[in-house]
Every structure is written in C-alpha cells, then in structure tokens.
Symmetry: C2
Subunit: 144 residues, 2 copies
DNA sequence: GACATAAATGAGAAGTCTTCTCACTTACTC
DNA sequence: GAGTAAGTGAGAAGACTTCTCATTTATGTC
C-alpha cells in the first residue's frame, strides 16, 4: 500500500493528475506481489475500473516511467513493466512461471572501462537480467 | 567470407539443405561489418535473391539459431538477430545508430551464487547488454 | 541426367504487443 | 461553478514475428 501512495505522490509532484484510471493501475501494482505485464495489469485494474482502456495502462506506465517509479523488464519473450523501488537493481526471471525477483548487487560497472577500450563505445548504461527457476517452481519440480 | 562458409558448413552438417535463399542470407551476414536485424538482412539479401521472402529470413535465422551460429540480441527497441562467433559474449549497442559491437569479458557469473542465496532462484543464464555511443557517432557528435 | 521425396519457399493472412488518433470526459485552478 | 488543458476509450494503425498452404526445389538414388 505504501508503494501505491508513494507512486501517486510522485505523479502529483511531477504535475500529473490523479485519475480513477491511474489510481486503479497503481493499486493493481501495489496489490501484486509479483511484477505484472501491461496486459496483466489491465486485467487486474479493470476490477476497480471496469471501463479502463488498455492504452491508458500503457500511458500510465509511460508516465510512471518518466517519473522514475517503474521500469521495463526485458523478459525472455515480450516486454513487461515492473514496479520498482528506487535505486539501481536488476531482475531474475523464472523461466517456468514468469515470477520476478529483484537483486541489487551488480558488478557490471567494473567491466565498462575495459569494454570501452576494446570497442571504442562510450558506454552509458547496462541491462542485466538473470533467468532461472524460482523457489516455488523448484519445490514443485522436486515434488514430482 | 570464411564466416559465411563456416555457417554454411554448420547447416550442411546438421542436415539442412543449402538453398539459394539461405546462401543469400548467409552472404548478407558475412558481408555486413555490423549485425543486422531480420528486416535489414532481408533488404541486403534480396540484392542476391530478389524474390526472397521475409519469412524465409526468419526461418533461416531460426535454423542458424538451432545450429548455434546466430544469437538473438535484445536491443533497446525491438528484437534483432545477430550473427555471432561461437563462445560466450555480449553486445554493446549504439543508442544513436543501432550499431552493435561484441565483447567477451564478463564478470556476471561471480554474482550468481549471491543472488541465488538472496532470492532462492536457481539461476541458469544471464542476459547482459551495454548501451552507449559508438565511435562513429561519437566522432560525428564532436564534429558538430 | 532423370526421378522420387521430403524439405524449403513465397505470399499473404494472422497473431501479439504497442502506439496513435480523435472526439469526448474530467481533474484541477480560480 | 466555470474554464481549460490533461486525460481517456475505442478502435485503427504500426512494427515485428509466426503461421498456412499450394508450389518449388535440393538432394540421394538409379
Ligand atoms: Mn547494474
Ligand atoms: Mn556473460
Ligand atoms: Zn517459477
Ligand atoms: Zn552509433
């Protein structure tokens, strides 16, 4: 819940209006323990705002993205949005069920000087995503 | 050129037929200094095989992917295929022009035990992609 | 070289995700 | 309670990828 409040405040502070639709999307995000795709978010949010349009979900995600409250997660197949705590972190995605966990430890930065030297690129950012099997799916695999 | 030959041999050895279309795609790959998207590849390959269909480019990339001669590159916006030398490596993508360079130094593996402990995930693979500005675009920026 | 056969192809339909358009609605300021 | 600019829904459109199926073609065999 505090997550939702915080995102709402971020929007207000950045001069965006709080609408029924945006509130529904924020609430759907806050209520989900696991990050949701735009489509999943739409299905959840419609329960609080039945005539919500999918385009509005995308627009809300864009706005949250601008404000820094949400981040794209390049999952294996297709893209999805993920509500993120502030700060630098990355994702581990379950290849079985799609659940996502976050981690903040990252050693990629130390690689960059060398890559810059090798390739001549001026490196500005990095995308790191791990894939594997989540605890829940691991347990189910063992149960069989 | 040796790159093209090698991919052709890989296909042969895996029991795939060498067609005019596949040869054209392989040649387009070999001739490009920079990795190409399916669409770019199509436009190049059509010069040697005018009636080539885009679907065939995708099919060829799939086949090469199975054989291990090509790898998906999750570039910032949309997907593209990249012909890859064998072995473990990652990409740096230019945010201005889309050019891609490769690097093989990677320290992500050393991160994995800790992430596994923190998240409970059994980590199986990682995706690492750097973004920045390529030497060519850097030069153009300075020229202005 | 001709034949048989399974693999491969082209053209376009279809699918998926995302963005755009535009007439209409609504949150916020005064 | 206006006035106004921001926001919205519905559906069209766009980008990329996969699928379908009738037709072509590479390759092993004679
Ligand atoms: Mn990092
Ligand atoms: Mn690596
Ligand atoms: Zn799982
Ligand atoms: Zn560039």
């Amino acid at each position: 819940m505090s997550g939702s409040t915080s995102l709402a405040e971020q929007l207000k502070m950045a001069g965006f209006r709080m609408t029924r639709q945006r509130a529904a999307v924020l609430r759907a995000m806050a209520d989900s323990p696991t990050p949701l795709s735009a489509l999943q978010l739409w299905n959840q949010a419609k329960r609080n705002c039945p005539c919500l349009g999918l385009a509005t979900v995308y627009r809300t995600l864009d706005v949250l993205n601008m404000v820094g409250g949400v981040e794209r997660c390049h999952a294996a197949s297709g893209r999805s949005f993920v509500s993120c705590p502030p700060g630098d972190h990355h994702h581990v995605v379950c290849v079985v069920c799609g659940r996502v966990a976050e981690f903040s430890r990252c050693n990629v930065a130390s690689l960059i000087p060398e890559v810059s030297r090798e390739t001549g690129f001026h490196v500005e950012s990095h995308l790191l995503e791990l894939a594997g099997i989540c605890p829940t799916c691991l347990a189910e695999e063992k149960a069989e």
